[in-house]
């Protein structure tokens, strides 16, 4: 495993009309091939960090590099290597699964034959082969989540960012998604995984970063963080110990 696939160096972001910084002096390093759990309570600054990482938002200060490229200099280039599955179902509900994926594949700049092969592969992996020609609005929540994930994988990105990929899905769908992520992990794909379901994080993440109030409060391998809090039985207890029990939103 090499180091420094993703480096966030002292980044700060404060939204206009907001008294508080959304992200404050955040420094983080994510190693290539790791599955990095980005954790934090609601409003901690996770989404802002991800937006800045993808080059969709400019930090007020600090620098971000992904695979050695400065995001602020070459945001468009870096996005070629990133696949993002946002928490919202970022699909066209009146198109079929196939039409959605084909369109996104085209927008990634892939050839038609490549897109067809990728669609076939991933629909099969996620148990949607029979649903390719169905309109997305008729899909269940779990099917939509799986399709949402496929749309982020079509161009075979080196970095995958997943925001609550299992929120609102049934146990079977969740299991299928997690199994697939474990396969990607074995293949050496770098994954940033943001979730409030800490059992899932424990299952698949090799590294963790816990953010609260825009600041990084703990980072390291999952085992090192767990080991530092041997009074806690699981990651949830560690998380609550570090971030407190107060409700944030």
């Amino acid at each position: 495993m090499s180091t420094g696939a993703i480096r966030l160096d002292s980044i700060t972001k404060q939204y206009p009309n907001s008294a508080k910084r959304a992200v404050s002096e955040l420094t983080l390093e994510i190693q290539e091939g790791s599955v990095f759990g980005l954790l934090g309570p609601n409003g901690a600054g996770k989404s802002t960090t991800v937006m800045m990482l993808c080059g969709l938002m400019r930090p007020d200060s600090g620098s971000i590099s992904v695979f050695g490229t400065d995001v602020m200099e070459n945001g468009a280039d870096i996005r070629k290597h990133i696949g993002v599955a946002p928490q919202e179902i970022a699909l066209f509900p009146t198109l079929t699964a196939y039409e959605n994926l084909f369109y996104f594949g085209r927008m990634y700049g892939l050839k038609a034959s490549e897109i067809r092969a990728q669609i076939k592969k991933y629909l099969q992996v996620f148990g949607l082969s029979e649903k390719g020609n169905k309109i997305v609005s008729t899909f269940s929540g779990g099917m939509k989540k799986r399709l949402n994930l496929i749309a982020a994988l079509l161009h075979q990105p080196k970095l995958i960012i997943l925001d609550e990929p299992t929120a609102g899905v049934d146990v079977q769908s969740r299991n299928m998604i997690l199994d697939f992520l474990e396969t990607l992990k074995k293949e050496g794909t770098t994954i940033i995984y943001s979730s409030h379901v800490l059992e899932e994080v424990e299952r698949i993440c090799s590294h963790l970063g816990i953010i609260d109030e825009g600041k990084l409060i703990s980072t390291g391998t999952r085992t090192s963080i767990m080991g530092a809090h041997d009074d806690c039985k699981n990651l949830e207890q560690v998380f609550l110990k570090l971030t407190g029990k107060n409700i944030r939103d």
Binding site: L56, R58, R79, K80, P86, A90, Y103
Partner: protein, 423 residues
């Protein structure tokens, strides 16, 4: 490829949206037909109307025969003969007729006598012996009763027509009397010369057009079809902005932002698709003007003789409409804001642009303001092509204005979009 993919995606989204399809195609067709029918009467009112006018003929002589003959040939006035002045006045007062002409008893005889008096006096003045009739004759009092609601231009036109007929008759009789008095005392009278003023002087009415083709008078169809077609084209912002903002809210726009490369293919694909839809709307509406309007008793839309000019104007209007739609879609953050502002602004632009009523009937201040509406540029260009048979050179300034408007709207959209999204 990205642009084509976006165009195809927009096509799929539209054909699966029955409401959007109805809004783009069915509503504008219904609108153009209804507006053409509704405005047909007002347009005829000031251009093609045939006024029914009562004619009370108390004279029943040659002057009344001339009046009847003259108005029979008139395309705008139809005389209804009545005998009773009081009845005629009541009918006009009741609003059943717009006017009544009363030709008094002995009008012909009095006019003849007055003419004879005049000629005799002229002869006597020049030393020719002539019988002079020194009686003072009353003025021949032709009365015209008008309905108070009649437009002043009709009133003037009718009075003018009656005066003209009387003047022609008088001129004719002057000549007759002159010939008669000159031939008095001759054994063999020379052949009588008849008088026809149209053979001396004629008013040749033509529409000023640029080339050999004759122009066409503006009517309800010629005004409403291009006007409401443009209105419908500008209303493309409704599905365009609606879909754009829906995609933003649903997250698919976020995914497109996250996808590599610039946003140009997304914006230009949308622009390209809706541009083509605008052109399709134009073709359909024009087809309605040509094939459906005559079936409804309206006139057939006449396109003139410059198909290239029409294509150029339609394309530039489509560009302006789509560009405006993209701007609204990008600028506003919620569908409510975009669609409310967008639709009201299109209604305002159309009103000041001369879509509802022609610009020339507007107050002067609005005529000045209308110069800044893209719909006014488009409508002016269509009128130039359809009615004035104008060349491409003549419509070019308006076409360039429309294209400039489209480019400005698109450039502003890109700036706004960029400022809100990518690093």
């Amino acid at each position: 490829m990205k642009i084509l993919a976006t165009i195809y995606k927009e096509f799929l989204l539209l054909i699966r949206d029955p409401g959007g399809m109805a809004l783009i195609f069915i509503m504008p067709l219904a609108l153009v037909i209804v507006m053409a029918l509704v405005q047909d009467a007002p347009f005829r009112d000031y251009q093609e109307i045939k006024l029914e006018v009562i004619f009370v003929d108390q004279d029943r002589d040659s002057l009344s025969a001339k009046v009847l003959k003259a108005f029979k040939a008139s395309p705008n006035v139809s005389l209804i003969v009545k005998n009773d002045t009081t009845e005629a006045k009541k009918l006009v007062q009741a609003g059943n007729f717009k006017a009544a002409i009363v030709l008094p008893k002995n009008a012909s005889a009095d006019l003849r006598r007055k003419t004879k008096q005049l000629i005799s006096r002229v002869f006597a003045n020049f030393g020719f012996s002539a019988e002079t009739d020194s009686a003072t004759l009353p003025v021949i009092d032709i009365k015209i009763f008008f309905d108070p609601t009649i437009k002043s231009n009709y009133r003037q036109a009718l009075s003018g027509a009656v005066e003209k007929i009387a003047a022609n008759v008088q001129t004719e009789w002057v000549l007759d009397e002159l010939q008669q008095q000159l031939s008095e005392g001759r054994e063999e009278a020379p052949q009588k010369i008849t008088f026809d003023i149209t053979k001396i002087m004629r008013i040749d009415e033509r529409y000023a057009s640029e080339n050999k083709y004759q122009g066409l008078m503006l009517n309800s169809v010629q005004h409403n079809v291009p006007a409401w077609t443009m209105f419908a084209m500008f209303f493309i912002l409704y599905p365009l902005a609606g879909n754009f903002i829906k995609e933003r809210e649903e997250g698919s726009m976020l995914r497109l932002r996250l996808i590599s490369g610039s946003q140009w293919p997304v914006i230009s694909g949308k622009f390209g698709f809706y541009f083509m839809i605008c052109l399709l709307q134009f073709v359909l509406m024009i087809a309605v003007g040509i094939y459906i309007m005559p079936l409804l008793g309206l006139t057939k839309l006449v396109l003139g003789s410059n198909p290239l000019g029409i294509l150029l104007t339609a394309s530039s209007v489509a560009m302006a409409a789509t560009g405006y739609g993209v701007l609204i879609a990008v600028y506003f953050r919620t569908p409510q804001q975009a669609l409310s502002f967008g639709s009201v602004s299109v209604v305002i632009l159309s009103a000041i642009g001369g879509v509802w009523v022609p610009v020339y009937v507007m107050p002067e201040i609005l005529q000045t303001v209308s110069r800044f509406s893209p719909m006014s540029w488009g409508l002016e260009s269509f009128n130039d092509l359809f009615l004035r048979q104008a060349s491409i050179r003549a419509i070019l300034p308006n076409v360039l204005r429309l294209m400039g408007f489209a480019m400005a709207a698109l450039a502003t959209s890109v700036i706004i979009h960029k400022s809100r999204t990518v690093v």
